[in-house]
């Protein structure tokens, strides 16, 4: 079953086409990679899917219905969660309160929201820090908190924006295992990632963007052989 479908999606900022004519579909249960050099439009594309930005062209379908131009809170309510490349935890709130912002979405009662938040804290191994302000966490813990917060909203589609970059190799391996565990709970994942070693073993299929355009799509093995991809990464014309 197709969970997410983009047809000819584009976004212009003045004269700049940040995303230009992108079309692909994501099947339920997949882990999909979204790669490309800096400035390729990956984060912008996430914002278009998750409702933080409106597309200026094309159409987006989620679970069979058209959702082009929906608002961020509507996307979250429908089960699309995202993380940000630059962490955006609510820094003066405690770790538990951060998670409750998300868990209230499916559990309007305070007790249940709290219980769900504690469950997820346990899952991402942050229980010990439940009552500390989020600003005092380490970078790696903040990243985990941001994923946990997205999970707390009860998503069916999770958009991870460079969650694994900037981690030490050990932290990275832990994070890869965590992404697998999340995917095993029937949550479809689209991940923006720079680190090819991460994308290769983890993703079922990969979409490659360059200058806002989709230059390749296929299994990790296929795209890494693709002449256009190699040129884009090595900076050839």
């Amino acid at each position: 079953m197709t969970l997410l479908k983009l047809t000819d999606v584009g976004r212009r900022f003045g004269g700049l086409r940040a995303v230009d004519g992108v079309s692909f579909s994501v099947e339920r249960g997949e882990i999909r990679g979204l790669i490309g050099p800096n400035g390729a439009g990956k984060s912008t594309l996430f914002s278009l899917i998750a409702g933080s930005l409106r597309p200026t062209a094309g159409r987006i379908f989620y679970e069979g219905g058209e959702v082009t131009g929906w608002k961020a809170h509507q996307a979250a309510t429908a089960g699309v969660a995202r993380t940000f490349q630059l962490m955006r935890v609510f820094s003066s709130m405690t770790v538990l309160e951060n998670l409750m912002v998300g868990s209230y979405l499916r559990h309007p009662r305070r007790g249940e929201a709290r219980a769900r938040a504690e469950e997820i804290l346990h899952l991402v191994e942050l229980s010990a820090q439940a009552d500390v302000p989020a600003r005092s966490l380490t970078v790696a813990s903040k990243k985990r908190l941001e994923i946990a917060r997205a999970l707390a909203t009860g998503p069916r589609l999770l958009l991870l924006d460079e969650t694994l970059s900037g981690l030490t190799p050990a932290e990275g391996r832990e994070a890869v295992a965590m992404v697998r565990r999340i995917n095993d709970t029937d949550i479809t994942i689209v991940m923006v990632e720079h680190v090819m070693e991460v994308v290769m073993p983890l993703c079922d299929r990969v979409v490659v963007l360059d200058h806002g355009r989709m230059i390749s799509e296929g299994t990790p093995a296929e795209v890494s052989q693709d002449r256009a991809v190699i040129d884009a990464y090595l900076g050839l014309p």
Partner: protein, 285 residues
């Protein structure tokens, strides 16, 4: 004994300063908009209580819930038609538009209700004086203080322990982060204005137990609320509350020795704190 009496009286007034300041800091904390017209809404709240007495014969205490609702509705309308169009615009346009509101409300009050002072004679609370070991707690002031503190506690509980309060705080921290958590940020903005101005309505009703109202009556309260918010740390509800109480006591104490300088002392205190600790007493930003 005199000093104790003066400090207690100051504390009682400070309760109302705290309530007005909390309304202001709520709007600032969630929308990053400074409402320069905040004091003018206190003035409108006082007129609402005055007219509830003169037209309907209601005591200011009986008028309090209506005052909260009417000013809350004013908060909705203000956000919807005046503030929302300038959201995301420059800070200057937001300052100019709330300053314009101040002029409009004060000018409008002059035209509609004349510059004369009006008061509610002999309110129910004036029969509630409490004598406590040589100190007199004036009934109107005591009622004002208790009312202000009760409402402040209710508001603090709401913000810290409910779903909507949690969503409000998240919105204040990071609007986009809150939106992707499924929070309707637009609704939170509206709510902040409704609650923030409901505070001025309650303060207005409580103030009519002691003060008279005229179109300029809100200026002092607006200024003191602004000082309390800056002292307490912008956006900190608890900080604004504590600063409000403190300012009431300082003003009262200074007035005892130099009756003209009560307000000047607050502005002086404000300058000192801004120089020494620009983030305010409990501020973190």
């Amino acid at each position: 004994m005199v000093v104790t009496q003066v400090l207690v009286s100051g504390l009682l007034v400070g309760g109302i300063y705290a309530l007005v300041a909390i309304g202001l800091t709520l709007i600032w904390g969630i929308l990053d908009v400074i409402n320069f017209a905040h004091g003018s809404y206190v003035m409108v709240g006082m007129y609402v209580a005055y007219f509830a007495w003169s037209l309907l014969g209601l005591d200011p205490l009986a008028a309090l819930p209506f005052d909260a609702v009417i000013l809350g509705a004013a908060g909705y309308l203000t956000y919807r038609f005046v503030i929302r169009p300038v959201m995301g615009k420059s800070a200057l346009s937001q300052i100019v538009i709330t300053f314009g509101l101040l002029m409009l409300l004060e000018g409008g009050a002059e035209v509609l209700w004349t510059p004369n002072s009006r008061g509610v004679p002999n309110p129910v609370s004036s029969h509630l004086n409490v004598h406590l070991g040589g100190i007199v707690l004036g009934g109107p002031q005591l009622v004002g203080f208790v009312g202000a503190i009760l409402f402040t506690l209710v508001l603090a509980g709401f913000i810290n322990f409910t779903r909507t309060g949690n969503a409000l705080r998240a919105t204040g921290e990071d609007r986009m982060g809150a939106a992707v958590m499924g929070i309707n940020v637009e609704r939170m903005n509206t709510l902040a204005w409704v609650l923030g101005l409901a505070c001025t309505g309650i303060a207005g009703a409580l103030l009519m137990n002691t003060y008279t109202v005229d179109p300029q009556a809100g200026v002092t309260f607006g200024l003191i609320a602004f000082i309390a918010v800056a002292l307490g740390g912008f956006g900190s509800v608890l900080g604004a509350g504590i600063a409000g109480l403190l300012l009431g006591m300082v003003q009262s104490l200074v007035s005892l020795y130099a009756s003209q300088y009560g307000l000047a002392a607050l502005v002086g205190l404000f300058l000192v704190v801004i120089l020494v600790r620009p983030t305010g007493i409990l501020g973190v930003r």
